[in-house]
């Protein structure tokens, strides 16, 4: 899967499933403060990532993911190696 395709897929589920506005999806946006992803939302992200990219995220991996760009990078790395 190409990088741009992965980013597009992430943006789509953030808009569809998490009801975020496209304009909010700035790479520097903080997942917690700006996008208001809370601890329960991370549980749902695990499910959505497995559905879309076929790999299971460990809860503790989220600790290092602060911004949307961090999130893109994490998914790109794991989706490509999967």
């Amino acid at each position: 899967m190409e990088t741009q395709e992965i980013i597009s897929k992430i943006n789509n589920f953030l808009i569809d499933e998490f009801e975020l506005e496209e304009s909010q999806l700035q790479p520097a946006a903080s997942l917690k403060e700006t996008l208001e992803i809370d601890s329960l939302d991370y549980v749902d992200l695990v499910v959505i990532i497995e559905k879309n990219f076929g790999f299971k995220v460990k809860g503790e991996d989220f600790a290092g993911i602060k911004t949307l760009q961090d999130f893109y990078d994490y998914i790109i790395k794991h989706a490509k190696s999967n």
Partner: protein, 407 residues
């Protein structure tokens, strides 16, 4: 002791998705029953069920608020939003006051089954998602609605089988009467899916008149052959009279009596003594005579034994001169955990518009129902100043409410 009044009503049911739709259906005797062929594929003895589509809450409440809501919580949200609007309770008022919730619910079968299906397939609890736990618990309605409406008073679920909704109003009545709370959201919610009904179907308690779904639910009729499972949600806002006056809220009626009892007998077969005791206790609590009651909304679900015993209990308390009696389950099917609350709303609408909704499909009485004054057709221009509503459930739990018009 405080007087307890009803200041708001809301409903989402098989005979209407709001109070006004339900009012029309009750008057014309419209049935909400249909046939679900998938139940037959699953090996159900009966494919009959109330038919109700899910409300679309996207755009109405946030994703975070929705993901933990089971089917019955969705129904309860719609009913409660309608009731709060009628009671003139807005977000600002909710934030500044301690409002409670006592809501009837006694299962969340679909959510439990669906979570197990995912677990079997994925073998990883992390893939169940964040909402599964909140959907699976019996208190799914109270935990979700208390969060959405930011409630700060008493907050718990009443599980009492098919009397859950009625007991929730009875409990709310006591909390307000005793001065512990000013306003409580009461009601009952019932999932309508096959997941929750298979085990009940297995008891052979459901009607199998599948060729005529709308004639299948026939409480008190000689040829009844069982109940039809149904569902939805119904909410009433209970409030102290003083609070309602202070706020300028609409006072729709007053709850004046609550009776309860437990049969202490068979787990599924009702008796006569327990329900009769509940009826007598409600009349005593309301300090009224049986002759003061203008209408009885019977529990009668259309099971052979249940209706027979309720008819005898009513006759035991009311004698051979009963007020008009009807079972609205003839139209709605058995709304179970919701029924005690929805049937208070159905009776309220009859009281407001001076009619008795028909006990449809009542064609021939049996020995005991012949002693009741059953309204087989809509009784027009019948003034109701006071009604009584019965609800009985598995385990022999009984609840009776008496409500009167405010003059």
């Amino acid at each position: 002791m405080n007087r307890v009044v009803i200041t708001g009503m809301g409903i989402y049911s098989t005979i209407g998705k709001n109070v006004e739709e339900v009012r029309q259906s009750l008057y014309i005797g419209r049935s909400g029953i249909g046939f679900d062929p998938y139940r037959k594929e699953l090996g159900f003895r009966s494919g009959l069920t109330g038919i109700l589509e899910m409300p679309n809450l996207k755009g109405e409440i946030t994703r975070r608020q929705r993901v933990g809501m089971a089917e019955e919580a969705d129904y309860a949200y719609v009913a409660t939003a309608e009731a709060l609007k009628q009671a003139k309770i807005d977000n600002d008022f909710l934030d500044k006051n301690d409002i409670g919730i006592l809501y009837g619910n006694d299962s969340s079968g679909k959510a439990v089954c669906e979570a197990y299906d995912v677990l079997k397939d994925k073998k990883d609890t992390a893939l169940l998602g964040s909402g599964a736990i909140f959907q699976s618990m019996n208190s799914t309605i109270t935990m979700n609605l208390s969060t959405i409406f930011r409630l700060k008073g008493i907050n718990l679920t009443i599980s009492a089988a098919c009397a859950s909704g009625s007991h929730s109003i009875g409990m709310g009545y006591y909390f307000i009467k005793s001065g512990l709370q000013d306003i409580i959201i009461c009601g009952g919610g019932q999932e309508i899916n096959f997941h929750s009904m298979g085990s009940f179907d297995g008891l052979s308690a459901f009607s199998i008149r599948e060729s005529e779904p709308q004639k299948a639910s026939r409480p008190f009729d000689r040829d009844r052959d069982g109940l039809v499972p149904s569902g939805g949600a119904a909410t009433v806002v209970l409030e102290s009279y003083e609070s309602a006056i202070r706020r300028g809220a609409p006072i729709l009626a007053e709850v004046i009596g609550y009776g309860f009892s437990s049969n202490g007998d068979h787990i599924s077969v009702p008796n006569v003594e327990g329900p009769a005791k509940s009826l007598e206790m409600a009349l005593k609590d309301a300090n009224v005579k049986s002759s003061d009651i203008d209408y009885i909304n019977a529990h009668a679900t259309a099971t052979p034994v249940g209706d027979l015993n309720e008819a005898q209990a009513i006759t035991k308390v009311f004698g051979l001169k009963t007020p008009y009696v009807s079972s609205t389950k003839s139209m709605t099917g058995h709304e179970m955990w919701m029924g005690g609350a929805s049937e208070v709303i159905y009776s309220m609408l009859m009281m407001q518009d001076s009619f008795v909704a028909p006990n449809i499909n009542f064609e021939n009485p049996d020995e005991f129902s012949a002693k009741l004054n059953i309204a087989a057709k809509t009784i027009k221009n019948h003034k109701i100043d006071m009604f009584l509503s019965n609800s009985f459930g598995f385990g022999g739990t009984n609840s009776t409410l008496i409500v009167k018009k405010i003059k």
